[in-house]
């Protein structure tokens, strides 16, 4: 394992463990308003200052980290599950099913993903509770992200189906269930894992984009997306501490990219 990868894993672990239970150590709840200290500069009491509503920025950032870091993997899980189902059944069924599913996947891939995401989110009701907004964001990311992984899964299953060891399993008289559970699935798992790892940082960024445009997780619940909205006011130069969420976002996405090869590396798969 390279130094870079170890470092990246370390960074992710520190960030994740900090975000596991923010109730325990952050100075305040994400919605608590200190009206006497609105728009405060960083100080011992508020390390990153407070926002216009007097909420502690550090607390909001940590709570927001939890939301974003839970949302992205959950959406990735959903899209990988959908991809496995669609890609797998296209490969197994063949014929018209295959043509239909793959045409749908190509159509989804040919549309600009982010614009599609924005359009779909804008079509859905915006005036919803924070919990509903989380669910909507998560569902949209998951549902719209199925096509890419589905193509990969389709190709992998096809390759596996014509592999020598699956043929040998058939020749040994194994039933379809046995072949699926013991031969197909274990060899598909590393590919699915890779797709999952690719999707997570992508969805972190997508959620941030949605949030910045006010289409993501709804206030008062923080997420990296809606925290970044503060930058819209355009005073990041005079207030550089506003850039801390950006640095955190970049750090997490970069760490995911650095960690990935370890998990997605070719798993003796010839």
């Amino acid at each position: 394992m390279t130094l870079l990868r170890r470092g990246a894993i370390g960074v992710l672990m520190v960030i994740a463990s900090a975000a596991v239970a923010p109730e325990l150590w952050t100075p305040a709840h994400y919605a608590t308003q200190f009206r006497e200290a609105a728009d405060a500069e960083p100080s011992g009491r508020f390390p990153l200052g407070t926002d216009r509503l007097g909420r502690d920025r550090l607390s909001r950032l940590v709570y927001g980290t939890r939301v974003s870091l839970l949302l992205a993997p959950a959406a990735a899980l959903l899209s990988c599950g959908a991809a496995a189902l669609m890609g797998g059944s296209a490969a197994v069924a063949g014929g018209l099913t295959e043509t239909g599913i793959m045409a749908l996947a190509d159509l989804c891939l040919s549309l600009p993903w982010l614009f599609l995401l924005l359009t779909m989110r804008a079509l859905l009701p915006l005036n919803v509770s924070p919990q509903t907004s989380i669910a909507l964001t998560f569902l949209l990311l998951g549902v719209l992200g199925w096509a890419g992984p589905a193509r990969v899964i389709f190709a992998t299953v096809r390759k596996l189906q014509s592999s020598d060891f699956i043929l040998q399993a058939h020749a040994a008289g194994l039933g379809p269930r046995q072949v699926f559970l013991r031969h197909l699935t274990p060899n598909l798992a590393p590919v699915l894992l890779a797709q999952f790892c690719v999707a997570v940082p992508l969805y972190v960024l997508a959620e941030a984009t949605l949030g910045m445009l006010g289409l993501g997780v709804a206030e008062p619940l923080p997420s990296w997306g809606n925290i970044l909205r503060e930058l819209e006011s355009g005073n990041a130069l005079s207030q550089p501490w506003l850039l801390v969420p950006v640095v955190l976002l970049a750090l997490v996405v970069a760490s995911f990219q650095a960690v990935m090869p370890a998990q997605t590396g070719e798993k003796d798969y010839a």
């Binding site: 060891f165 399993a169 020749a171 040994a172 008289g173 046995q178 274990p186 060899n187 798993k267 010839a270």
Partner: protein
């Protein structure tokens, strides 16, 4: 006595019609029959057809495959699955590719056993019968830890899990080095002798066929052009293609034998290593 296996088949692939054209072949119980032909002439297609697996390659098979009196082409998928592995075993060409890289050796054996509801058992005896280590630790390995020769022994053990009366060996030695090849051939001969398993040994390597098979069938352009006892076919080939095949068997070059001989014995007489007519022509005063 009716033969164990009697086939008469024609096989077409969508892009390659007429791969096999009324190919006929018989194998008797306890016999090793060789099927020889050039690469790409449909030798492997014969094994796939017998096992009813041509569908996976998009091929269609017509005719009949009589195995122990039943026509395998008339069986449904379920009945056919009971034949595969239990009554007919397959030894593949590339043993390492034929093992699931993510499944331990023991799991491979267990899956093969479970496919036909065999009783739970200790695998030591089976491993010993193919000269593999019989200790439990060996079976806890993943296939990538095996050498290709060991993997092929393991594939033979896999094929023998249910002690089928017939083994199909599809170029089982072509991925192996000469020494491993010889060991595997010895193993086949021993299994045949001790357990009476019949074998369809498919190869393009005539030397291995000559050393192993009781009878040999020559496949050319989708048909068996010659079939008979191995000695007869090799000594007295009838078909032009057979003669061509036999003429192509490589011989160790004389010059290297001479060099070897000289290195070992300074008083080496070149004439000793040469074929009689060649030696005669070298010593004749007029050419």
């Amino acid at each position: 006595m009716s033969p164990l296996l009697k086939i008469n088949i024609s096989v077409d692939y969508p892009r390659n019609p007429g791969v096999l054209q009324s190919l006929t072949l018989e194998a008797h119980a306890g016999e090793i029959i060789g099927l020889v032909g050039r690469s790409g002439e449909g030798k492997s297609t014969v094994t796939m057809a017998i096992l009813g697996l041509l569908g996976y390659k998009g091929g269609k098979c017509a005719g009949e495959i009589l195995f122990q009196g039943r026509n395998l082409l008339e069986l449904n998928q379920r009945e056919m699955r009971c034949v595969r592995g239990k009554e007919i075993g397959l030894v593949p060409q590339s043993p390492l590719a034929a093992l699931n890289p993510n499944l331990r050796l023991r799991a491979h054996l267990e899956e093969a056993r479970r496919a036909h509801d065999g009783e739970k058992r200790d695998w030591a005896g089976l491993m010993e019968s193919v000269s593999l280590p019989s200790e439990a630790a060996f079976l806890d390995q993943l296939p990538r830890n095996l050498s290709v020769g060991m993997a092929q022994r393991f594939m033979i053990a896999m094929a023998m899990v249910h002690r089928p009366p017939l083994l199909l060996a599809d170029e089982p030695t072509s991925a192996l080095d000469m020494i491993t090849q010889a060991e595997i051939l010895k193993l086949f001969a021993r299994l045949n002798r001790e357990q009476g398993v019949a074998m369809l040994y498919i190869s393009h390597d005539l030397a291995s066929v000559a050393s192993l098979c009781h009878r040999v069938a020559i496949l050319h352009q989708g048909k068996v052009v010659e079939c008979g006892a191995t000695g007869d076919v090799f000594q007295n080939p009838q078909h032009a293609f057979t003669r061509q095949l036999i003429a192509a068997i490589p011989q160790p070059p004389q010059s290297s034998l001479v060099a070897m001989g000289k290195a070992l014995r300074p008083d080496w007489n070149e004439a000793e290593t040469m074929a009689p007519e060649q030696a005669a022509s070298e010593h004749s005063p007029v050419l």
